[in-house]
Subunit: 320 residues, 4 copies
C-alpha cells in the first residue's frame, strides 16, 4: 500500500426527502416510525430519530414530486472538510461553498456523476432535548419515544444511478469511501455497490437505474436495536395501512434484516437491523456477488420483489 | 481544534488469556460460547468467534495463574504502525519490536502505565474456513456454529488499573484512543474510563483496582447479535454449571446488555449486545458519571454486585 | 384416578384494582403499558389489553387505599357456573349471586379462606373495536397500539395469604384449579403455590403474607409476546419514572421472564413473557421447591429482592 | 347452549413420520432442530424436543415413501379414553383397540374420513433425563440442548384432505375438537380448518388436497420460545443446506411466526412461535377467511408460495 486511506468523512448526517403529501408523510415519520419533529423552516420540517446526536437526520420538504433533495455527510474535522473541498475544486462535480442547511456551519456542495446533490459540512448543532424529552440515561440523545417503530438513528440511504462504476470511483477518490460489497454482472459491469466511511458495513448503496433516468432515490433506512423490533415495525405498518413492499427478511448482501415500506409521499423507507456485524478490518476485501448468486434471492430464499428493481423516486414517466 | 485526531489503530484484535485449567477453559470457550479452535502452538490454543475475520481473537495459554498475557490491536496501515512505534520509541512504555504472535507480521510491544502488555501489528492472516465450516453467505467468515452461545466477534476487554487518569492520557496520547464515557469521583479523581478507536462506543474499559495490584484483568467480551441471544447464553450457562456473576441486565454506562460469567480458569467473561448504538460523532463529548449517579445501579436498577468491584485475575493474595 | 378433574373454569377474566391516585394510575396503564380505556362507571375506569377478547380485563377503582377489590373468573359454560355455585352453596365461602360487573350476566360471588373476593360468571360481552381501533387481522381483538409496552392480554395475578395450604385446598376443591408448582418449607408448611385452570402454567399464585394480614394483593401480570418486549417495557418504565422493583430476569419457578414495577397508586404490576411453555399434561405432577432451592435466587442467580417478600397492597400499618 | 363441550382430549402427543432417508432425517432432527433420540425399536427411532414431558413426540420410521404413519392424541383421563372409544365404536372410523406404541398403555385406533390414522391413549411414560441431560431447573423435562434450533415442544401438525367439512364434523363430533379458524371459498365449501383441544389456537390444521389423493401429510411443527429463535433456525437451515420453502414470516391466519423447510426424507417441517396468543374464550367464534382475504397473502404481504398448495407427502405420481 503506497498511500494511506482517506479518513475525512465521519458519517452520513441527513437526507432531504421531497414529498407531495407533506402532512401525511410527517404523520408517517412521527406516528409510525416514532420520530420527533425538531424544527420547521419554509416548506421543510426537520425530524430526528431518538438517538441521533445532531438536531435532525431528516429534512422533509414539500414538493411536487417525491425524491431526494440532497444528502449530507459530516466530516471528521474542519481540516477534513477543507481537504475534501480542495479535492473537488475545479472538477465537474463541484458546486462550491453554499448556503448552509439549518444548524450547520460552512457547507460545501457537490454532485456525484449521476447528479445526486451532496452536502459536506463539519460544524453542527447537537440536539438538546426539552425537559419532557430528556432521557433517563445521559448517554442517549433523547427519551425513548415508546411510539410506533421507535427508530434509533439514521443508518444509510440507497440511490439509483446509471453508471455504478463511475459513481464508485467518484466516492472512493473524492470522498474516501470504501467499497464493502458489490454486484458484478457476467459482462463485467457493476450493477450495485455498498460503500462505507465508518465501521458500519455500509453508509450508502447505489443500484443501477434501469430506466436510464438520473439522480433518483431508492430508499433511506433507519436502524432499530433488534430484529424483533423490525418485526414489530411490520406489525405497526400493517395496522396503519402503510404499504409493505417486501420483508421482513434477511439480505444475503450485508446480512441486514430489512423491512421496506412506502411512506405516503411515495418514497421507499427501510427499517433495518444489522446485529453485531461491523467492518473492522482496515483492508476489507470487497465481496463480489455474481448474477447467479443474486438469482438465489435473499438470505433465506425470498425472491427479490420486481418493484425493488424498478420503483424509485421521482417516478419515471413512461416514454420520458 | 488545532490538531487532528490520530486514526492509526483499526480495532482490538485479540487477547491472550492465561488459565490454570486449560482443558476446562477450552471446553467452555468452544462448547458454551460456541467458539472454534483455529490453531495450537506450545501451551496455547487459538480460538475464534464465527465472524472474526482474522484467524483468531483469543489465545488461551496454560499458566499457573489466570489473567491476561497481552492484548493486541491491529493498526490501519503499515505506516500507522510505524507512526505508533515512533511515538512510543524512547518512552518508558516501549518494549520495542518483538516476536510476532502467530500469523502476524512485525509486532511492536509496549505497556500502559499500569503494566498491561500491548501488541501492535498490521500484517495478519485472514481466516479461511475449511470446507465443513464454509458459510452459506460469503460475507461471513465462517459458518454459524449453532452450538452454545454462538458468539459473533470479540467486542472489547476490561482491565483494572491503579491510576485511571494516567492510563487515559497514555491511550489518548500514544495510541489515539478517544474517551467516550468515564466515572469521576466527588474528589475529582477518575475511577473508570471507556475508550474507543472505532465507531463502537468502546473497545476497552479500565476500572480502578482497589487492591493496589497492577496490570490485572477484569473481563473480555464477545458480542452476539441480539439481547435475546444474551438471554439464551444465560440459559446455556445455567444448564452447564457455569458461574453467573451478574446479569443479564442493561448497563447504564454505554447501555450494553450484559451477562458476566467466570470461565473455569477463573477469568471473567462477558457476553454482550450493543444494539444499534454507535459513536458516529467525530467530536463526541465524553459522558461523565458521578458517584451519586453510579449509586443508582445499572440501567433498570440492579445493584452492581460487590465482586464486580473486587474480583479480577490474577487474584490478589490477602496481605500481599 | 377415581374421579375426573373439574373443568368448569375457563380463565382469569379481570381484576378490580383499587388506587388512591386514579388519574396517575390510569395514565400508567394507558400510556406506559399501552392499554385502552373501554368504559367508565362511577368511580371506576375499565381497561383492556389489545388482545383481550372481553371488553375489559382491568377495573380501576378510585379508593382510599391501594389493593384488589375482587378477581373474576369466567366459567366454561352456564352449566359450569351453576355447578360451581352449587358446590359453594352453604359453605363459609359463599357470598351468593350478586350484582353483575359491567357487561356480565349472572354473577356468583365467594371468597377464599384468606378473604379475597371472587366473582364467577359466564355471560359476557365481547369487545367490538371502534373503527379507528379495528385490527388489520380479524383474529385479533383490537389494533396493536404501538404505544408504551403494548401488553397483549391479562396473564395472571398473585395474592398474599396467611395459610397457603388452606387456600390451595379451597381452589382445588371448589373451583377445580390444579397445582403446578409450590414452595414447601423445611417444616412441611406450604409457602407459595401456583395454580391453573388452563394450559398456562399458572393463572394465579399465592405467597405467604408474613405480616399476618389477610386478603392482600401482591401483583397482577400482563403478557407480551417476547422477552425482548419485556426488556423494552423496562426501558419505557425507566424513561417514564416508573419505579422498577426488580427484573427483567427469569423466574426459576415457572420460568417466566419478568419485570416488576409499582404503578402510581402503589400496586405492584408485572410485565411477563412465558415463551412456548405450556402445561399440556393432564396429570402434571406439581413441582415442589425447597427452602434450599429458593435460596439460590432466580434462574440466573438474581437474589429475590427483600421488598418482594414484604410489600403488598394495601400496606400494613406498623403495629396493626 | 344445550349440551356442554367435550373435554376428553388433552393434547397432540406424537406423530409417526415416514422417511426414505432415515439416517439423514435423523441427523436433521437431532443436528438441525436440536432434538434428542430417546429410544429405538425396529425401523423406528423415537425423538423428543427438550421440553416434551413424554418420552417422545416424534417416531421416525424408515419407509419407502415419506408421509405420516399415524398421529397420536393423549386423553385427559382413562375415562375420557373410554368415552372416545365408545363414541367411535361401530362407526366406519373405528379400528379398535390395538397394539400400543412404545411406552403407552391401552391404545384405541381410528381414522378420520380422509384416512389419516389416529391413536388415542392415556397411560404414558414421562421422560426421565439421564444424568448428563438433567435440566438445571426441575420444571423442565430436559437440559436446553444449545444445539441447532433448540425446539422446545411439538406444537401441531397439518394434514391434507379431500373433504374439509367432513373431517371437521368428524373431529368435532367424535373427538371434541373446536374450530378456531377456517377458510371458506366463495362457493361455500370449506378449504381449510384449524382445530384445537387446548388453549393453543390450534393443535392441527387440514387443508384441501387439490390432487384428489387421500390421507396425505402437509407438515408438523415444533415450537420455539421467540420469533428471534425462528430467525436463528432459518440461519441454521441456510448454513446446513436444508431447503427453505418459505418464511420466516407471520401467518395472517392464527398469527404464528413460521419457517417451512423440507427434512431430507421429503416431509415438510415447520419451526414456529405463537407469542402470547392463546384461545381462552370457551365460546370462541371461529374466524372465517374468504378467498379475497386469502389473496392478500400472509400477514405482511408475502404471497403464499405455490408449492405450499401442491406439495405434500407422500408425493402424488402424475397421472395416478
Amino acid at each position: 500500500m503506497d498511500t494511506e486511506p482517506i479518513y475525512d468523512l465521519a458519517h452520513l448526517a441527513h437526507l432531504e426527502l421531497l414529498t407531495p403529501k407533506p402532512d401525511e408523510s410527517l404523520k408517517f415519520f412521527t406516528g409510525v416510525l416514532g420520530m420527533t419533529e425538531s424544527a420547521r423552516e419554509g416548506n421543510s420540517v426537520y425530524l430526528r430519530a431518538y438517538d441521533d446526536y445532531e438536531r435532525y437526520s431528516l429534512k422533509l420538504t414539500a414538493s411536487k414530486q417525491p425524491g431526494m433533495g440532497h444528502v449530507a455527510f459530516r466530516t471528521r474535522s474542519p481540516q477534513a472538510l477543507d481537504r475534501r473541498a480542495a479535492a473537488l475544486r475545479g472538477t465537474e462535480y463541484e458546486f462550491g461553498w453554499g448556503e448552509s442547511d439549518l444548524t450547520h456551519g460552512p457547507a460545501f456542495y457537490c454532485r456525484d456523476p449521476d447528479g445526486h446533490r451532496i452536502e459536506l459540512y463539519y460544524e453542527t448543532q447537537w440536539y438538546e432535548a426539552p425537559q419532557e424529552m430528556r432521557p433517563a440515561l445521559k448517554n442517549q440523545a433523547q427519551k425513548f419515544p415508546a411510539r410506533g417503530a421507535n427508530v434509533r438513528r439514521l443508518d444509510h440511504w440507497n440511490g439509483l444511478a446509471a453508471d455504478i462504476e463511475a459513481n464508485r470511483r467518484f466516492f472512493e477518490t473524492y470522498l474516501g469511501f470504501r467499497l464493502t460489497e458489490q454486484i458484478v454482472l457476467d459482462d463485467g459491469t457493476e450493477a450495485a455497490m455498498w460503500m462505507t466511511c465508518t465501521n458500519k458495513s455500509y453508509d450508502f448503496a447505489y443500484t443501477r437505474d434501469h430506466t436510464g433516468a438520473q439522480g433518483r432515490f431508492h430508499h433511506l433506512t433507519y436502524a432499530v436495536n433488534s430484529r424483533e423490533e423490525v418485526l414489530l415495525a411490520a406489525d405497526i405498518c400493517l395496522e396503519n395501512g402503510v404499504y409493505i413492499e417486501t420483508g421482513p427478511h434477511k439480505h444475503a448482501i450485508q446480512q441486514t434484516f430489512f423491512l421496506y415500506v412506502y411512506e405516503p409521499g411515495g418514497n421507499r423507507v427501510e427499517v433495518a437491523n444489522a446485529g453485531a456485524r461491523l467492518i473492522l478490518a482496515p483492508d476489507w476485501k470487497p465481496i463480489r456477488w455474481t448474477e447467479a448468486e443474486r438469482k438465489k434471492g435473499q438470505a433465506w430464499g425470498l425472491k427479490t420483489i420486481e418493484s425493488f428493481h424498478t420503483y424509485g423516486t421521482p417516478p419515471v414517466e413512461p416514454g420520458s
